[in-house]
Symmetry: C2
Subunit: 342 residues, 2 copies
């Protein structure tokens, strides 16, 4: 067992958009493999926009990270040493290991064994992981989306949005996506089967474009962007429309007082709109059923996903920072070591 | 049957806070009492803050009123002539007659016969009418309020807020109200049984006062004020808190672009907050059960209400305008003619 491993830590509290200088790659001791613990090597790690909400200083949010703390992140890993009877050497797991090469776990926290190898390993921290499950429970539990309704998805080429839109199609909805650039838009239309896609970078009047694409209004807004987008769409919501607050990537970098505010709130009364957010771990008991259904859809080719792989743990900070420049296309993963089956 | 009656109409579209000059009292023909119709004389009329949302010009809201249109409003009335087999002379009804002395109805729209005379007639357009039912369905259906939770009610001495708070007490909640002035606050504490009351006119730091009164946070915000109040309370919401958008009295007078915006929306994700509005007529099939329960509570003295009576149809416009200066204490009614039992 190695004495140390490498991990990314917070080098300074982040102001505005994150930059690679906000993070530091360091050697850190692994500690002993006490009874009940096991050691894993990370194969693929993920960078998540939601992590940004914990990187600013101040005491405004209880989950704020301290300088020098290791950055959280989900990973696919292989157990390489074990003093825990539930995890054997060679087991593949999805877990919250962080941006690092190895980690020791006592088996607590979110750890899932990967047994279904029909789908690429990266899916277990993508479309079958937090992003895909956020889409699933956001659409089914929070939005209670129904056939015949109109769904508008923002940041639609991201891993949450693309999955939410395809779940909408499976449910029989009319699905409209908003994304940036012709490549993402073409993929959403041609591969993911969206009914209409709006390229926000090419539209001089985004509101007019949304109205044109949703002539009868919006039943479900599945938003990953933030207040500016929500306030734009609120006046277009249909009676009993639902706004799912899935992510706020445009607001994470801005202090609350400097954010766009929601002003068009009269629709909450006139149109009985409901707005609700989610953190997917509230639905953990239903993960298995959702993953089984989505894995079947991936295996039969009817649920599409995009993965962008960055090479080497060194690339994690840069991969993360690019999320806030709208660069990512699909799930952004960092290849830390090779898949044992490769 | 009289040929004409008097009614209030919209004299001009309202900008900002309404003034009596925005309305005009006029003689209007009553028309013939065709088959299926009946004539009623208004006993008590109501002025409702929600009416304000329809009085501005422009096409931003489908319900906007035209100049010269009669002002809507609920009233208690007595049927005095009838060509409708379902309504007999002498029947007492609660209906949407408007700010007027007589009205002819064909029996369509919301009309409810008043048979339970244990409670004052005015209750049927107050605590047993739209305000009280908004409180009932806002607390039970929308908020799904539960024993042990903390409820914060704004505009708490108004007919909606005072009823919502007392329903909260019946449900076993800790109930905190915000109202303006010592008279309202004393009534809420001593009569309506609120656990704590904040006088916003006397508090230099309203947020600090709310924190002190709700040290563990707020499970249910029942808001009748608008965005500024909601944004102030959002950071204090507990996990899975609910914001009931019941009314927006402070925002009705302000164009959407000039309103305070909700910025503290990150709690929708971090604290899984749900925000939802209501229009009480969605629950019309459950009105009878809610009214029967509340009438019992009124009759046994355990549900309190306050009524402010203005004398004469002439006072309707002034009574309405005062709602936006925070003057009203309880349900504001206009006495148009005498109760037949009086």
């Amino acid at each position: 067992m190695p004495d140390t491993t490498r991990r990314w830590v917070l080098a300074r509290h982040v102001e505005g958009a994150p930059t690679p200088e906000d993070f530091r790659l360091e050697e850190t001791p692994l500690g002993e493999l006490a009874d009940g613990r096991f050691l894993s090597r990370v194969i693929l790690g993920s960078v998540d926009p939601g992590t940004r909400s914990r990187l600013s200083g101040g005491d405004s949010y209880a989950g704020a990270m301290k300088i020098g703390e290791g950055i959280d992140g989900f990973c696919v890993a292989e157990v390489i040493e074990s003093n825990n009877p539930n995890y054997a050497v060679g087991d593949l797991i999805a877990a919250g290991g962080g941006w690092r090469e190895h980690f020791v776990s006592d088996g607590r926290g979110f750890i899932q064994k990967i047994t279904d190898r029909r789908v690429p390993l990266g899916c277990w921290i993508g479309i079958l992981g937090v992003p895909g499950l956020t889409a699933w429970f956001g659409m089914n539990r929070v939005a209670q989306a129904k056939a015949g309704e109109t769904l508008l998805v923002t940041s639609a080429a991201g891993p949450v949005g693309a999955t939410a839109g395809q779940i909408g199609k499976k449910l029989g909805m009319r699905v409209v996506g908003i994304a940036g650039g012709p490549k993402k838009c073409a993929w959403l239309k041609d591969e993911a089967g969206f009914d209409a896609v709006i390229d926000y970078k090419a539209e001089p009047d985004l509101t007019a474009a949304i109205k044109a694409a949703c002539p009868e209004g919006v039943d479900v807004l599945f938003d990953n962007v933030g207040n500016e987008m929500v306030d734009r769409v609120l006046p277009l919501m249909k009676l009993r429309g639902r706004v799912v607050v899935s992510g706020q990537v445009a607001d994470y970098n801005v202090e609350p007082q400097d954010r766009v505010g929601l002003k068009n709130t009269s629709v909450f009364i006139t149109h009985r709109v409901r707005m609700e957010g989610l953190v997917v771990f509230d639905d953990i008991r239903q993960f298995g059923a959702a993953q089984a259904q989505m894995a079947d859809w991936i295996a039969d080719g009817s649920l599409k996903f995009a993965i962008e792989e960055f090479d080497g743990l060194e690339s994690a900070a840069e991969a993360f920072c690019g999320l806030f420049r709208g660069e990512n296309f699909g799930r952004r993963l960092v290849r830390v070591s090779q898949d044992p089956a490769a």
